[in-house]
Amino acid sequence: MTSYQTGLLVILSINIVIAYGAYLPIAAGQMNLGIAGFMALGAYASAYVANNAGLPPIVTIFIGAGFAGLLALIVAVPILRTRGIYLALATFALGQIVAAAILNVELVGAAEGYSVLDHFGLATIAPITIATIAVVAYLNRTRFGLNLTAISQDELLANLFGVRTRRLQIAAFTLGAFFAGLGGALHAHYYNYIRPQDFNILLSIYIILFVLLGGTRSVLGPIVGAAIFTFLPEIFRDLDKKFSAFFDQVPDWLGQASAWRFAIFAALIIVFMMLRPQGIMTRGATRAAARWVAWCVRRLGFARSSGARP
């Protein structure tokens, strides 16, 4: 693997972890527009502890995530009393407050940004991502996951059947914030330098967008969404250079590769939400994918055994 490819995989891994941070509350019918704020908290807390406490780096990222989860737990009780648009706006305000607050803390460099000494590579980050996927996949197969779906679709009904709707929503929100914080901590330890403005509202919006594009009814949705979000830009990298291989005159606007990829990503979202609002990975699609994988495995196994035959 080239270092370019490794780098891409790291970014994908981090994006997946963060995606679950948005996925969990959405699965419970809540939109957290403050994901970037929780990421920032996880990033800064882990970085500060890593730089100052002399703990093993792997511990510090969980401390960072813990801080994000703790903040979520504290604010969840008042904030989750609000619903719908009010909740979206309240979480959005919370994210803004966190970012603005960090901007004022000299201890972590304020607007200057903050350096992180420890560095994580793919070897550390990928297992954490896999563990995150495993945790969410497991939860989806318990009453916890079942009840979240029930709450998101019919809170009253779930409650009448004895589901502790408030507690579960708080749990989903908190666990989501934990994952967002974890993703932020990984981000800090991969880039080794963080600034408050890296964690703005636009980041929260992008995360929500790619999670919904992937789909929120299957554990695979956030992975697919994160993959699209990570790899789509690469297609548009050096668009003008590719173009110049065929044409003498390269129009100016082709050089705006990063803008192109965001524009196309956005168009994709709009079209997708029109045609298939449930996202790419529905449960049906997930089952089909599982069948296809099983089929491939069988084919491979068959091919191998038939090949071994004399």
């Binding site: 079942l146 779930a158 004895g162």
Partner: protein, 262 residues
């Protein structure tokens, strides 16, 4: 009356805006019986169910389940007193399979955090899924277990709705128009099924417009009009009650239903 009633509604009232929807209503549901709650459209039947299950708070009055006062118990806790209900418009979770919808019915018996985190779908067998599947089999729906419930036919959805409520193992089950939209065969099956529930010791309260259905099924009928009780007794008594005939008069379909029944 000597025995504690399964449900005792004591002088309750409820208004929405300026409209008194339930007005000084009292009645009791005898334990182990099948009681019908009837009345013209808009009489307040569904509202009674909503008040009993705690969806709306009462304006005044009190409600007791099996002798326990639940007036101030929240909607999410009343199921602990052995209460379950179905809805007039089916409320299934469309994004879950039939089986998963039924698993939701078991929630109250699944226990606390351990029940919440117990794997339902990791190992091949587990008691909750087995129980849910068996319940589906009982009503002839084994083939639909893994289908998304939103795609299933209406009659099937109604049965799933009922089975889900049963799996909460309630002592008192409130059914809001369980026979609405069913064909004659399905209605007969439902009747037999509900009789089976009584044999298992479940007290039933049924809201239904189909008087034929009520006459066959229920031994005790409470008639509402404009949120108040206008008659109570056996189907026979109620049918011959002046106020009841009056309440239904002028409404052709209901009159028709009545003459069919008698």
């Amino acid at each position: 009356m000597s025995a504690v009633p399964a449900l005792k509604i004591d002088n309750i009232g409820k208004h929405f805006g300026g409209v008194k929807v339930i007005d000084q209503l009292s009645f009791s549901v005898p334990l182990g019986a099948r009681t019908a709650l009837i009345g013209p459209n808009g009489a307040g039947k569904t509202t009674v169910f909503n008040l009993v299950s705690g969806v709306y708070p009462l304006d005044y009055g009190s409600i007791a389940l099996n002798g326990a006062d639940v007036t101030h118990v929240s909607q999410g806790e009343r199921i602990k007193f052995g209460l379950a209900r179905s809805f007039q418009n089916i409320r299934l979770i469309a994004h879950l399979t039939a089986l998963e919808n039924i698993l939701l019915g078991q929630q109250i018996r699944a226990g606390g955090l351990r029940g919440l985190l117990y794997p339902l779908n990791v190992f091949r067998r587990n008691k909750w899924r087995d129980e849910a599947r068996a319940a589906l089999c009982d009503v002839g729906l084994e083939a639909y277990g893994d289908d998304m419930v939103g795609d299933l036919p209406y009659g099937v959805q109604k049965r799933i709705d009922l089975v889900r409520a049963e799996l909460a193992r309630p002592k008192l089950l409130l059914l809001d128009e369980p026979a609405a939209g069913l064909n004659p065969t399905e209605t007969e099956e439902l009747q037999a099924h509900l009789e089976g529930l009584t044999e298992r010791g479940i007290t039933l309260v049924v809201v239904e417009h189909d008087m034929q259905f009520i006459n066959v099924l229920c031994e005790h009928v409470v008639v509402l009009n404009f949120g108040s009780k206008i008659a109570e007794g056996t189907p026979e008594e109620v049918r011959n009650h002046g106020a009841v005939r009056e309440a239904y008069l002028g409404r052709e379909e209901d009159e028709e239903a009545f003459s069919h029944a008698s």
